[in-house]
């Protein structure tokens, strides 16, 4: 252990340490000036972003392999920190409007983010487990932030009980994998599997249980039942952060564990992940059709998108395609994050103080009343469907190509067909906004508007010029470290 090791986890130390300091500072900030806490939290995130950028291109293991610093972790950490900044900007006015503004909101958000940062650079199953919990536990509290509102209570209780249930599976799965391979270090597992010093049955059951545990976290079918209720009941600003951050965190762990640590066991998990991907895409999109509440609709949409990202796992079972599959998944995660943050931002702008204004019907007439906002929403809906010229199209295109390269043509077909189905409910929002008459009541708050503008710009810009993003992703090497 040396000085360098601490530099390797500097972004994590900054965010977690800053959150702890803010917890104390916030005690002396008067209740009507919690904007100060929000501002300070953003400052911490910017410092962490600087720390990530300053060590870009470095690849090393720290703390005896517990922590891995590579392109994969740096890229994801940048994504998480960006999501954090936008989530704070979105929350500020919303919390005041709902009258639930407390400094702890931003602090819990920072703690959850620190879990995601840790997840991105986890090199050992111990760290993976700790990161999952550090990511989830603050989110349970955040979902409960509007208590005593019944919706928020229900959301938090369901999220908590099912999240803890999933953790149980994750821990037991890790225990079995530990028993089978004799180690919890990801690099050690690769070696153990290659030298066949494993108990295959334990490895099969163990990795299956890890898949169940993380499947819950990313809301993949058949472990998705909690998602619509939790997303609908939680305060919308929390949902926005949860839908993007927690999901990306779960996928960071899935990609790291299955693709870089268990490639030798691919025969075991390949069929499982393939069916999960297909079922998730199909069920998420079909169930979304009948939704009338925009939050529930976006919840099912997020399930469906988990299915698309999940396709990267069975594709990565083919060793030659694996690096590209990881990159496609990362690209899709960015796509998903930008588009979804934007769409949830519009939902935030439409939500009224007492929590109404969340039906899709409430969006009628938005095209006339607020053309810019309606245009942004239309862009997000097109991007979620995967229609050019949006970033969603590029993401799907890249991903489907990788899946076809891995010779999983039927899976790619399921993806295309379900995307067509999804067009029905995404485009319905556009139709309602432009073709129906109505008098929607919309907020116009500077911070919220700017987040919507930034995400809309990103959706469009990366849609026509994805080169910059692709160039960054091409430097990502998930697999080199263990070879």
């Amino acid at each position: 252990m040396d000085w360098q090791d601490f530099l390797s986890v500097l972004p994590f130390i900054i965010v977690a340490g800053w959150a702890t300091i803010l917890l104390l500072v916030d005690l002396w900030i008067p209740a009507n000036r919690k904007g100060i806490t929000a501002g300070l939290a953003v400052l911490g995130l910017i410092a962490a972003i600087a720390a990530v950028i300053s060590r870009f291109g470095i690849e090393r293991e720290a703390f005896d392999g517990m922590i891995i610093v590579d392109g994969f972790s740096s890229f994801l950490q940048l994504l998480f920190l960006g999501v954090g900044v936008i989530a704070i900007a979105q929350a500020y006015d919303y919390l005041r409007r709902r009258d639930i503004e407390r400094g702890e909101y931003y602090i819990l958000l920072l703690y959850s983010l620190s879990g995601m940062l840790l997840m991105a650079s986890a090199g050992d199953l111990i760290v993976v487990f700790l990161a999952v919990e550090l990511l989830s536990i603050p989110l349970y509290v955040l979902a409960a932030f509007a208590i005593p509102k019944a919706d928020s209570e229900e959301s938090a209780l369901k999220y908590f009980l099912l999240g803890a249930f999933a953790s149980g599976f994750l821990v037991y799965g890790i225990a079995l994998v530990f028993g089978s391979t004799g180690t919890t270090a990801l690099s050690g597992m690769v070696a153990a599997i290659e030298s066949a010093e494993t108990t295959p049955i334990l490895l099969l059951v163990g990795s299956g249980m890890i898949l169940v545990g993380l499947g819950f976290k990313v809301a993949a079918v058949p472990f998705h039942m909690w998602t619509p209720d939790v997303y609908q009941g939680a305060p919308t600003s929390v949902t926005s952060f949860m839908a993007v951050g927690a999901k990306a965190g779960g996928f960071a762990a899935l990609l790291r564990i299955f693709i870089s640590a268990l490639p030798g066991a691919a025969v075991m998990w390949m069929p499982l992940t393939m069916w999960i991907a297909a079922l998730t895409m199909a069920w998420g999109n079909i169930a979304a059709i009948s939704q009338t509440n925009i939050k529930r609709m976006l919840a099912y949409s997020s399930i469906a998108h988990a299915g698309y990202i999940f396709m990267a796992l069975p594709a990565a079972a083919t060793p030659e395609v694996a690096p590209e599959a990881v990159r496609a998944a990362l690209f899709y995660l960015v796509t998903y994050a930008i588009t979804n943050l934007g769409a949830w931002g519009v939902v935030l702008a439409m939500e009224k103080a007492e929590g109404s204004g969340l039906e899709i019907e409430d969006y009628s007439g938005l095209g006339k009343k607020r053309p810019a906002l309606a245009l942004a929403m239309a862009l997000f809906m097109l991007s979620l469907t995967g229609i050019p010229p949006t970033v969603g199209f590029m993401g799907k295109f890249y991903l489907f190509q990788v899946v076809i390269d891995a010779n999983l043509i039927w899976l790619a077909l399921v993806g295309v067909v379900t995307s067509l189905i999804s067009a029905y409910y995404y485009l319905r929002v556009i139709v309602v906004m432009y073709m129906r008459d109505g008098e929607p009541e919309v907020r116009s708050e500077a911070l919220l508007n700017s987040t919507i503008f930034i995400t809309a710009f990103g959706t469009f810009f990366f849609g026509i010029l994805p080169g910059f993003l692709l160039k960054m992703i091409n430097q990502v090497s998930l697999l080199d470290l263990f070879r």
Partner: protein, 118 residues
Amino acid sequence: MLAEYLPIVVLIVLATGLAFIVVALGHLFGPRKPNPVKAEPYESGMRPYGPGRRRVSVHFYLIAVLFILFDIEIVFILPWAVVLREIKMVGLIEMAVFIGVLLAGLIYAWKTGALEWE
């Protein structure tokens, strides 16, 4: 190998059997003269008051939760103390950071009034 456990099984069967028989005998042959004083639950010789299942103040839960959080940290402190001589200064600093985080939590709980006992 299982045969080694046979004496234990015999012992368990005999012990539980004997307990049942003694209780049953008392039940069958003992005199029964119930009165209100006998029917009262035993409460360390005090006069019992109120129903047995009365509700506990929510405040106890809060204190219990705080207790769990601070109590469980011994899991890390004890192994640390065992190897302190080997990990020297680095270990000391790390534990200081750890305790510092706990202290921050304590100050937060204190300042928000979670420790007030009205």
